[in-house]
Each structure stands twice: as structure tokens, then as C-alpha cells.
Symmetry: D4
Subunit: 250 residues, 8 copies
């Protein structure tokens, strides 16, 4: 029973105000003192609450994870350092760390697989952490992912080599720093949904990723959408939501 259900029941007079308050208070979140875990989010938004690690102590991350494990939630923690993982591992020895993606995952069983393939393309070695964050997120949510890394506009042949893979994807995540031209070049070749991710990689006027962000927003190819700078996680979620759209159509 999720929030929308509760709201419906209240409206239908099937649930009293007091009961609803109890539900909202006790069932839907667990209060850890320092943070409340939104256990209902998975049903409401298609994704369990995800732990954003920067600024959190190892003990805090472990605490949230323990609460989620009890609530039988799959766990994804992003931007986790190796040190944070080390502390987490003591309490949750089955938790896995993906170093380039900087993610911790803990899943009792493999997630149900979604049909379709998300293709993740990136331009330079330094874009890989952002691309990997997108990839791990999508896989965590049950999607199949193909990676095409190190395929920048300065070497178009690398892109052409993979054109049939690009054309068969259910959604593309294209990660690029510098001048951010890669999504436009790919968007001119195929007709699939493209999520562009600018990265904060480059010389002075990169402006911590604003240069590729502006380039992507101004793409001459219509239909390209953009997420925040370095936000591989959000790009992964968006790609899965798009892929799921297809699944539900069936």
C-alpha cells in the first residue's frame, strides 16, 4: 500500500484520518534519528531511496543500509569512497563496490530484467566514472547495458564502428566533457532517445561542466535531453524509465 493508495482510500472514506497518520508515520518511513528512510518510494517512483554518500559517516551509511535491509529494500549508494565502503563491508559483507562508478550495491537477488538495451557512450577516459555511475544505476534497476567508451568527435571512426549497436538501443546515455559535441554527432545518425550528461572535465573555460552543458542544451539535433553536470545516476534512472515505458506498452 503506497501513498497514492492511502490517498485513494481516504478519499473513498475507507481509511480514517488517525489510521492514515499512523500509516504515514510508522509504515512508510523509518526514522533513524539523523535521517528518515522513504521506504515507499520504490512503489511510488519506481526506484528505492538511494543513499548519497558524500558527507555521511560510515556509521550513518551502515545504519541506513541496515534499516533498508530490514525493509527488504535493494540498496544503491552513490559517490561512495573506498573508505566508506570498507566500513560498510564489516556490517554488510555481501555489499559490492564498483570502484570506477564509486557505488555500493546490496541486492539479495538479481533484479527482474527489463527487455531492451541501454547503450552508454563516453568520450574520454576522464568521463568514465560518470558513465559507470549511469551504467551501474541502470543495471541495479534491472536493465541490460552496453558500454562504448573513449569514442570522441575527434575520432569519428570510433563512433561509426558502433552504429548498429547505437541504432538498436532502447535509450542512449551520452557522456561528454570538453565541447560536449558527442550527443549532437550521434543524434544526427540515429532516432533513439538520447540523454546527454555533461562532465566537469577540461581546461579553464570548461566552467566545471557549464561549457558542455550549454552545448548540449543548444544542440542543433532536436529531442536530445540533458541531466545535471556529472549526474550519471540521474541519467541512468531516466534511461531505465524510458526503457520501462516500452515494457509497459506491451
Amino acid at each position: 500500500m503506497n501513498l497514492i493508495d492511502i490517498l485513494s482510500k481516504i478519499q473513498a472514506g475507507k481509511l480514517s484520518a488517525d489510521k492514515a497518520a499512523e500509516h504515514i508515520d510508522k509504515m512508510y518511513e523509518r526514522d533513524l534519528g539523523f535521517a528518515r528512510v522513504d521506504i515507499d518510494r520504490h512503489k511510488r517512483c519506481g526506484l528505492p531511496e538511494v543513499i548519497y554518500c558524500p558527507g555521511k559517516t560510515g556509521r550513518q551509511i551502515t545504519g541506513i543500509m541496515t534499516a533498508m535491509v530490514k525493509a527488504k529494500q535493494d540498496i544503491l549508494a552513490t559517490r561512495a569512497s573506498a573508505e566508506q565502503y570498507k566500513k560498510v563491508k564489516r556490517a554488510h559483507p555481501k555489499a559490492k563496490y564498483n570502484e570506477p562508478a564509486r557505488t555500493i550495491t546490496l541486492m539479495p537477488k538479481r533484479p527482474a530484467q527489463i527487455p531492451g538495451t541501454i547503450v552508454i557512450v563516453c568520450a574520454g577516459t576522464s568521463d568514465i566514472p560518470v558513465a559507470e555511475e549511469a551504467a551501474v544505476t541502470a543495471e541495479f534497476m534491472g536493465a541490460r547495458v552496453e558500454r562504448i567508451y573513449d569514442a570522441g568527435v575527434a575520432g569519428l571512426h570510433r563512433i561509426f564502428k558502433h552504429i548498429s549497436t547505437l541504432r538498436k538501443s532502447s535509450a542512449l546515455v551520452v557522456v561528454a566533457g570538453m565541447e560536449g559535441a558527442l550527443p549532437s554527432v550521434i543524434g544526427g545518425l540515429i532516432d533513439r532517445p538520447i540523454i546527454a550528461v555533461p562532465t566537469s572535465v577540461g581546461y579553464g573555460t570548461n566552467l566545471q561542466g557549464f561549457a558542455p552543458l550549454l552545448a548540449m542544451l543548444n544542440s542543433c539535433v532536436p529531442g536530445i535531453t540533458v541531466v545535471n553536470i556529472d549526474n550519471g545516476f540521474s541519467a541512468g534512472v531516466a534511461a531505465v524509465m524510458i526503457t520501462r515505458t516500452g515494457v509497459r506498452h506491451q
Copy 2:
């Protein structure tokens, strides 16, 4: 036969260089002197070349339209003024003008309908032109569109009223100016792909749409993607590409 096909044939030795050049030169584009029409784009990218009207004379728009009609292309012209339409109408009396969306369309027959429904939500009266541009674009590409207008965060009941419509959409376009909070509020309630469109509507620090653009990029709800300020056209294209993804899965 599109560019990718030609490239394949060349690679397979089935097409000589001279023939290919002729193809590329004669078949794929029509040179109008002041602009070359990319007639192949529909097949390559799922959308015919669209006419962006600002700065073009009525004669130029009419000329491009005539060339496209000959090539049996459906026609969409964006950001067209009433004056531009008046001139177009003399040569193409069947062309239709959508005043709030500022679009001209000319289609010999109704486009093939795509299953699924795109929902377009906007916050204020002044956001309607951008929302309508998205709607007309999506309909032009064969999608079914539902509009929920004037539903801002300052009156949440307006959003709640439509929650079941939101939940049944194949993709959402959420248009908002001011503080740009609407996509986050909707994104917290449903699990569908959301394309956020910031508009240049508001007081001084709106910064011609940069305030809601930044808000949307920084949304606390993962998976929301963003297009350029006021770019309803690109949002419409993205929504159709996502909806089509589902169609192809079947």
C-alpha cells in the same frame, strides 16, 4: 535508401564512389540557393527537417515548403508569426496555423498514430505557447497528447486532481517558468519519464529562464531530464522518441 544504407552499400562494394556522390548530391538534398533541404532526415532521425521561421522571409518559407511538398514530406514550421503564415497561405492554402503554438503544419494525410499518450503540463498562462509548441510537435509526429494547463505548485490541488492521467502517460512534458518547481513535485508522485522545459517567464532574476533551468537540473527527483529554455519543439520530439521506444519493443 538513406545515408546509413548508402554507407553500407559503399562498404559492401555495391556502390561506386561516383554514384554515391551523385546520390548524396542529388537525391538526399534539394539545393534552394539559400538553404539545402535534408530530405533524408526523416528516415535517419525519425523526423522530417523542420523549418525554423524567425529571420526567414515569407518567400523563403514558402520555397522550402514547396520543395518539401514535391518530396512528399510532411511539413512543420515553428516560431512562425501570423504575418509569415499569411504569406505562406497564398501558395499553400491547406497549411494550418496554430496561433498559441506559433506553428504552421501541412500534412497531406493524418500521420500514422503511435500507441501511448503524451501528457503536457504547464504552470502559468504565459507558459502555454511553449507547451503548445510541444503538443503540436508531438501530434505532428503521430502521438496522442493530453494537456493539463495552469497547474502550478502554488495550487497543488490542481495537480492532485489529474494524478491518474499523469500515471497513465507514456511520457510527460512539464513546462514551468518562475522557480521551476513543478517537475520535481510531479516527479515525486509518479514513475514515468519526465522532460522538463524551463520558460523565460518571470521577474528580474528569472534570468531569461536560467532560474527554472538551474532548478530543473538540480531537481531532488532523479530521472528528470531537461531541454533548452522555451524549447517546446525539442521536448515534443523527445517525448515522441520515448513513446516510440515502447512501440518498437512490441
Copy 3:
């Protein structure tokens, strides 16, 4: 006798220039060599001079505190590190440290309580230090404070749960980073003075808090006012001044 009083007396011919100069020089400030303490400020502006700790040595903070204790002033020091507090404690063992708020307080007796309740709402775990700075400041000035933390727009149920608390407040402080939408959502539900505080929490384009700052300034809800990024202290002072306004009306 405060500055305004002196100015009145001078104007009324009840105080000679020489005496006034003495007053201003000797009575109103204490010169510590490295800083002059404005002991009159409490009477003039309703708040004793507050010690802003960054960049000050433990010895300097202790020195200012000793001078203020002698002048029978209540003491509030903001942005104090644990190290600074450790040094302060040796000289002023009764000084208290609030770790999340990063404040040191030293008050001989509880401040006179002001009727009314200030409600402080914040969105994420990382906004808590700013919210706590506002809370401690308001309590230091004699106000009653209620805290509603971790109540973001991505989970509206958390806000709805507290709606009657929000409606009974004398003033609200709403702290939010990311897209800064929380004040607009709350402002659409109640008719109480809202002070919005943007925080420098978020991914790349948060721009150190400029994204939520712009969102709050552009709120579609009229009557929301804003203080500087991360400035919980100023928000707390503003909330107390508003609450006091009511007290004086009586």
C-alpha cells in the same frame, strides 16, 4: 542609554558634545585592540553583537567573550569549530556548544520568552546545519522553535503531515538546497510569513547555492522573502523580529 537616546539628548541640549564623545567612546564600545565590541547594539537593534568565528583564533574569541561577559551581554558565536570551542571552554566553562549548528552560547540566565512559535523546515540531511543555526539563533533571542526536518518536495506526504503545525506558526524558516522548491510548495498552503534560506548543497549546477537562491526569489507565491545562501543566523534573527512585532502589537 543607547545611541538614539544620546542623539535625542544632544538635540534637546541635555548633553554637551564632550560628554557625548566620552559616552560614545568609553561606554558604548570596548576596544580589544583587534576588534571593538558594540555593546549598545542589543538595545539599538534588538540583538547583542554576535561573534562570527571563522578566521578568529581561540584567544580572540575568548577575549571578546570575556569583555561581553563583563558588560553583562548574552553571547552567541556562530560558525564555531569544535577546536575553537575547546579553547573557549577553558576560560568559559559554562559556554555550550551545539555541534550541528556550529554555535557557542553563553547566557547567565534563560532569555525572556517571546510568545509565538517559529517553525523551521528543511529538506535534506545536509541542510540541517543551516536549519540548526537558525533554530539556535531564534532560541537564543527568546523564541520557541519547532523543527520539521527531512521534508522535501519529492515526498509531499511529509509536508502534509505537519500542516497544522505550519499553520499555527508566527513565522516560518524554510531551508532548502537542490532546486529550492520547498518554500513555494509550503507558501501555497498557508498564510504565514516565510523566510526562505537557500543552501549550497547539490550537484554541479547548484552553483554554491545560486540555483535555489534564484528559485526562491522567483517563487510564484508572493510574500516569500529570502536571506543569503547558508545564512541560518540571519533567518533566525528575521523570524524573531517578525515574532516580536506581534508581541509589541499587544
Copy 4:
């Protein structure tokens, strides 16, 4: 019966879902085709929906006004041009135009007066339109307003002359362009809530009001809050909300 009431009744099982939908749909808003009027807002947020005129035709403004008159709402329209007023006047001959404030008001009877006085201070002749918008808004909501205009920091004697008026206010609105120093200077003299309004008046680097906005946000006087550039309307609403806080305390 307002939205909050409805929500309470639904929660208490006193209102069925169908009835609620009807209420929300029929009673709370009137759909004019081009805009929906939120007639409930007055009760929910303490202010009737206000008409923002730029970009609206005279016919549209007149239509909204007619709907609101039927719903027995007081009417305030902001940023109205003389031409817009001329058209409005034909249908609503009792509507009044305040030229410097650029407002149209239509109130069957004088609003209930709130105890307390809002003082509005501004620095230069060019700031007067913004100051007047704040003043008219506050008077429209039932507040008493005193105006102190043309009192900049370059002539401090003009401020000192009015110090007792400043000290007796329930809330201050301080409007300033250029370097935006006026709120700080006044804030150093009194202990009342100050709402600072930056204006887009000045030479090149004023940046359309960003220079005084930044100055006000960075004020060395704590407790000063800020609204958007040129937004006299929002400042007026905030000042009334603060003044009302006192009224409710009684």
C-alpha cells in the same frame, strides 16, 4: 470551505471522493478558457489571486475581473499599462488606476483595517514605481502605509529626520537601486523587520538589479530579508503577512 478544510473532511470521512472532486472542480476555480481563477486562494493564503497584466489583452483582464466580481473577490491587477486600464474601465467603471504604481484595484468596500503601520522607504525618484506597487498592495490588503521617498545614503540627514517613524513601524519595505546600501544603514538604527527590494535602476554594472540584490543579501546587518528585483508586490504582501502576525497574536 477551503482546500485545507476539504482535505480535513475527506480525511475525517465526512466527504466522499466524488463530492470532493466536484468541489475542487466547480467551487474553487472558474475556468475562463484562457485561465483558471483560484478563488480559494484568499482563504488559503490570505490574499486573493492577483492579476499580472503584462502580455494579457484588455479583454482577458476584463474577463478575469468579471469572474472575480461574481465570486465577490476584491481585485488587484499589477503592472497594468494606461492602455490596459482604459479598456478595463469600460466594463468596470469603478476600477481605480494608480499611475506610478501601475495597479488597477476594484473593491466593493474598504478592506478591514489591520492594526500597525507599514513604512515604505525608497532612495531615488526612479525607485518610486516599485515602492508604490508595494504601498498599493499593502493598502489593498488592509494595512496602513507611510511613505518616506527620496532618502538615499548620500544624504543621511533625510533618514535621521524620520527615525521615530521608522522605529514605530510594524514592518519596513526598503526599496533601493544603485549600490543597495539603504537597508543596511536603516537596519543599523532600528530593530524592526526589514524587507529589502532591489531595483533595476543604475549604470552598466547594476546588471538589471543584481548589484543591489547582491548587496542586500550580503548586508552586514542580520535579519534583513530580500525579495526579487523590482518586486514591490511581493514585498507588500510580505509586509502585510508580518503585520498580520501581530494581529493574530492578540
Copy 5:
């Protein structure tokens, strides 16, 4: 005899201070009251002084041209409106107007031709004025120019078609608005000097050309240089200087 010559002669004791002053004053410039024409510039910097038309009256432009004709200078006037040209033509009937480039030229005889070919590429119809300004400037200085217009990254086949022309150029001027990706794509294919010119063409976040300017500065292809937004004139001069470098090597 140019400035450098004079300086040398003075240093060699071959020219007295008084004579030099006379030279500098009388021979090197003609004072027209409202502007001084630097007749020496052609020899010193390889380009006669060029007339920038915006803000100048037809009479002023005509006056400068008359003075330059007397000094046997070739004339190039940039950013000239059709109205300005009409007035110029009465006094200088041989002056020619290039409408897309917005230039007026007046040359008694064809300039000495420089070996080599400058290729000018542009992406969209709206970039043509900037591209033409570069082309006319280069031709005015004696260079041979080839134009490749309407060749954006969304249709790579258009670029590939011209690859042998690109490879044979002595210098390339690549003009692009939107995301500014064209110079990077071309730069990845050839090894010739590329001068990138960003244009102020595009939707909201184009920022009057700053988006493509930043993209070009951040190009992943080393060796691409950039001139100011819309500055086709400076790009043309740079391309000629590079081409001349080769000529002088011989």
C-alpha cells in the same frame, strides 16, 4: 615610409625630432575632425584601416572614404546597412555593396592575389552573414576563397562530401552557432589551421554566442583558435595573415 621606418631613422640619427613630429602628424594620419584615419596601418599591419559602420552617419562614412581615396587606400567598410550604402553611393558610385556580408568595398584595381585558398564553412542559414563577412574580408586582402555553407554536424555527409577541399586549404574559417561542434568535427579530419567563429544564433541558453564560444575554446582537438562572437571580419584577417605566412616563406 612607415612608423617602424621613422623610428629606425630617428634611432640612426637620420631624422630630427621636429621632422619626425611633422611626419607623424601630417603624413601618417588625416584628421577629419570626427576621426583620424591611420593611413600607415596598411604598411605596418598588412591591412588598411577598416571602417566600422554602426553608429556612423552616411556623411561620416563618405568623408572617411574620400580621405582614404585621396591617400590611394583600398576601402573596406563593415556592418554597413543598405541605407548607409545608399548615401555612400552618391559620392562614390563605384563602391560595391555585398548584402549578406553587409560590407562596402571600393578598390581602384583588383588586389594582388595571394597563392593558397581559404575555405569558409558554416553550419546554418543564419550563420551566413558572419561567414560572408569573413569571405569578403579575405577577398579584399587578395585571397582566393571557397565557401561550404549549410554543413552542420547533424548531417555529417555534407562535411564528408567536401573533405578533399578542406584538406587542400591554406586556412579554414569555421563558423557555427548552436552547440558550436563543427570546428571539432572538422578538426578531427584534417591537419590545417582552423579559425573558429562562434555566432549568436540559437535558443535561450545560446547566451548571445557564449555557448558556442565556450564549446570552441574547449574543443578536444588541439590547435583550433577562436575569434570573438560574430566577428567574421577578424577571422578573415587571421586567415589571410596565415596564408601570407606561406607566401613569405617562399
Copy 6:
């Protein structure tokens, strides 16, 4: 004999080119390998070359100082750390360090005193390093300096107390961070040249000093001039140049 003298002599035929080259090469600068010292600058611009320490090793600073001592130059080094000074002191035991100003000075005898007094005002404790850099620079150049520190706009009485000192100055340096209002307030009271120095002190939107910089540039008091953020050195030089102007008038 300085550069201007040499140029005059060359022009008068009193100096051959070869000799001039020697002069310029040998007499006017000393080449230290890593830096060339412009020993002529004192005569040409009224200030010896000053050593900017950040990024230089102790050995480099010492080397430049030794070369200048040999050329009988007074020495001023700015932004020197305590560590840099420690290393300098070994080679130049008479060098003095001013800790708050972060300057090293070495002068064989007291500089010739200029009539007049430069007054340096600053607002907060954190502005003192910048104010001291200005003070030390002015004293190094022979000026008499009076300091008025900790005199912000939030406590106007502190400024009024010193009004006669302000009115007797030959030039004022006013240093302020936060909202940068101090120069305007002082400029409204006196008619002396004011050099405003913004500092990078403050909360988030201070923008590393841009907020007070913009405020100072937009001052409503005409005649206030501004130097770069935190640039006490340049303000000191400007104040001395103004004071010297008076000296030369006599």
C-alpha cells in the same frame, strides 16, 4: 637617465641606436635568469618595482632583493608568507615583516615624507589585512597614514566620531566587504578623493568580492573610484599618487 630621457635624446640625435640598445639592455634591467628587474620604473612611474611573492621561492625573492639592494632601490614585497620572510631574513637581516599586511620592506633610510595625510578606513576585522597592505604601501612611498578600522555602516556612530579626520585627509582608502556600502556613506559626508577597495569577505553570494565591487561601482555618490578586489597595494599607490599631485602643485 630613464626611458623617456633616452627616447628624447635619441630623437634629438644625441644618442645613437647602438648606444641606446646598450642602455636599454644593460643599464635599465638586471637579468636574474628567472626574472628581469625593471630598475628604471621608480623614475618613470614613481614607484620601484614591487615583488609579488605568491608562487616565488624564498631563494627567488632573496635574489631579486639582492639585485635591487645593489641598485640602491627601496624594497617592498607583498603577499609574503611568514615562511618566505624567514628565508629572506637570513640574507637580509634588516628586512622587516608586517604580519597583518603580509609585506616585507627593506629601506636603507626613511623615505622622503610627502605632505598630506592618507586616511584608511575599514569595516570589519577581516578587512584589516587588505587595509594594512594599503597602509604599508603608502608609508613605504613616504606618505603619512591614519587608520580608522572596524567602522561599518551597521554602527554609523563609529564613522561620525571620526568625521573631522576624514575631512582633513588628502585621499581616503575605504576597504569593505559584505554589501560594500561604506564608501557611499562616507562619500555623502565629505568632498575628498575616495578609493574604494572591495574585499572577498562574506557569505555565499559575496562571490569572492564581486558583490561589494558591484556596489562600489554603482555608488550613488559620484567621484568614488574603485580598485580590484583585495588589492590594498594598488589602492595605496593610487592614494600616494593623488597626495603627490598636491605636492607638485605647490
Copy 7:
């Protein structure tokens, strides 16, 4: 008797509060309904109140002028259009208009002359209006002005020709747009106070004068001070204040 005098007398008990209020109210300002004229400013700040014309009607300007004439004030009005002047001339036939400077002046007799010469240098034809505003302002205040126009860094010989004039000035105003390099080049040659004025002249990235403003603030020559973009008036005032400093030294 000016404000400072009054304050002194009050402090000395020689003036009662009531009398002072009358003085401040009646003697120091004349209230014109739409603006109060600060007649005391000339004595307090060395400059009569100046009329800034943009946004004022001819009638308003004329009214302020009439009040000032009665108070025997010299009159300077800046940024006046030819239309505004035409209306002013009817009431004040002796008022003079300087077209390039866009100023109106009305002075019963020539101002007392200050010893010393202010030199005003500018780079391009389009900088002349700003330079002339500075020149007229300085002359209005009694200074002698020499103008050196059209002397940019691209033609250094034009600067060298005038070096002895530059060296004899009491203060320099250097006006420049584009890259704003002129003040640095001149500052490297002389030791006089330089006031740099950036202008909003140039191509795209001039950013309405921010490019030369930043260049001037970052000048490698210490002691250069800057006023706001296009603010010739403030530069003129600053130059006179500096020149007067010398006069008072005598």
C-alpha cells in the same frame, strides 16, 4: 551653514532640536513634489546636486532647474536628449547643450578656476560621448581640461606624440572600450593619478563593458582606479577632487 555645521552646533548645545528640524526641512532641501533637491550638497561634497535626465519629463527637469536657480546653484544635467534640451530652453534660454556629451549646463558666471590640468584620453570614435561627459563635468566644476581623442593601443605613436602633455597633468581620465588596454599602456609611461573608464563599445563578448572593466581592474600597473561602465560624469568628478587636493595643499 551645512549639515556638518548643524550637527556641530547641536552637539555644542547652540541649536535646539526643533530649530534643527526646521533647518533640515526648510533650508536644506526644496520639495518639488516629485523630487527633493539637496541644495546643501555643494558645500558638503564639493558638487551641487546634478540632474540625471533619463526617465524625466522636460517639465520635471525644468522644475528642478527653476528651484536650483532660485537657490543660486550652478546647474549640470547629464544624459539629456536633444528633445529634453529643447523643452528646457524655453524656460531657461541661457542653458547650453553639449551634444556629444549629452549635457545641459546653466551657470550665471564662470566657475572659479582650479589650478592644474585634467587630461582626458580616449581610444575610439565611439568612446567620445563618455569622454566628453567627463570633460564637461570637470569644466563645470572649474577645472582646465585637455582632450586627446582617438589614441588607441593599436597605434602607439598617437600616444607617444602626447607624452609631455600626459606627464604634466594633475589627473588623467582614460576612456576605453574593446580590450580596455589603454590605461595600462599609459600607466606604464607616467606617474600621475589615472582614472580608467570602461565603455560598452564592442562586439559580442564586450559584455556591455564588462570586458574592459575587468581588464582595467586587473591592470598590471598599480595605482590605476576605475569607475563604472560609461560613467564619464563620475570620472570627471573624481578628477576634479584629485586636482582640488593639490589646491588645498598650498
Copy 8:
């Protein structure tokens, strides 16, 4: 055989698709797991792939170098730290480190020398690393380089001394921070291609190099081109490409 050759052969039917794929896959790049080396780039773009060191481990740099050595490529690594070099040296003892330029080079034999001379000018000691990066890059590509360092606009004599060297160059690289005026001053004296490089050196408003970048883009001297902030490497490549243009003309 490079990419262009392959494309030509495919088009001419001389190469089958399968063979081409093999070529592209096996011959043109070596996959190192963490990065693919584009060995063809030298032929295609006139420069081997260059290793950008920041963020790479010593092992990664060494691995790429080993692969390139095997492919008989000359090696240039930029922005290398001394630590990175130390690790590289163990595997490649012949690799050379240029400390000021922060480059590692490894070339079996001296590159073929290109006729012509590139002159590299810089203004301050802190610009030297950027200038050296340009110099080393140009030398690596076979060009002859002359360095003129420490020649800022504040000491024009230093520039004049070298004027004949400047005039004989095939291309100039002018590196400058602060106000970025040096390229304009030099550009006014000569007629050679100038590549301007802004550096992130300076006080507050340098904006990490944006101040000189804007100045250079706005230069009043036409034909100056600009590369990204601190990007000496790209400037060096551009200078060589220009110089080579001359070589090919012969």
C-alpha cells in the same frame, strides 16, 4: 594508410567492409583496457595523440607510452608532475622532463625541422609555465622557437627591443594574464599571425583567466586569434600548423 585513405579505398570499391572493419579495429588503435590509443592521428591531423597526465596513474602513463613506442610514435605528455615523471623514467629511461613546461617527451630521433620561426612572448614570471608548454609542443613538432619572456605592457621598451625578431616570425604565441593587453600592443606593430593565450594569473577579478580571455577576444587589432585559458599546448599546435602552411606552399 590512414582513415581518409581507407574511406577513399572503400568508396573506390578497393576495400571490402570486413577488411575495413579489421583495419579500423586492429591497425588504427591499440586497446589498453583503460584507454585506446589513436595511432592514426599523426597522419590524419599532423600530430600524434598526446597524453594528458592529470588524473592518470604513473602506471597508466607508462602503459600508454609503451604501446606508442611499439607503434614507433613520438611521445609528448603534458601537465605531468615530477612524481609522474619519476615513475615513467623507470620504464622509459630516455624520457625527458621539462620542469617549467611540465612535459615529458620521448623521441627516438630529432623531428624533421620545419623552416620558419615561432616566437613566444609572455608578460610575467607566472605566465612562463604556459609559454613553455607552447614552446616544448612546437619544438616537439619540429619547429624552431624563440622565447621573449617578461615583456609586459607596463614596460613597453622591453617589447620595442625585440621588434625585428617579432617581425621575422612565421607565427607568434603571446601569453598574458592580468588585463591581457599584450597581444593588442604587439598586434598594432606587426603583420604576422598572432595566437593569444590568456592565463589564470592575477587578483580576484581575473576570474581564473576570463578577464584576459575577454580582453583578447575584444582586441581592437583584427586578426588576433585566441585559445583556451592556460592552454599553451593548443597554442603550440596552432603555431606549428600555421608555420607548416608556409612549408607546404613552397
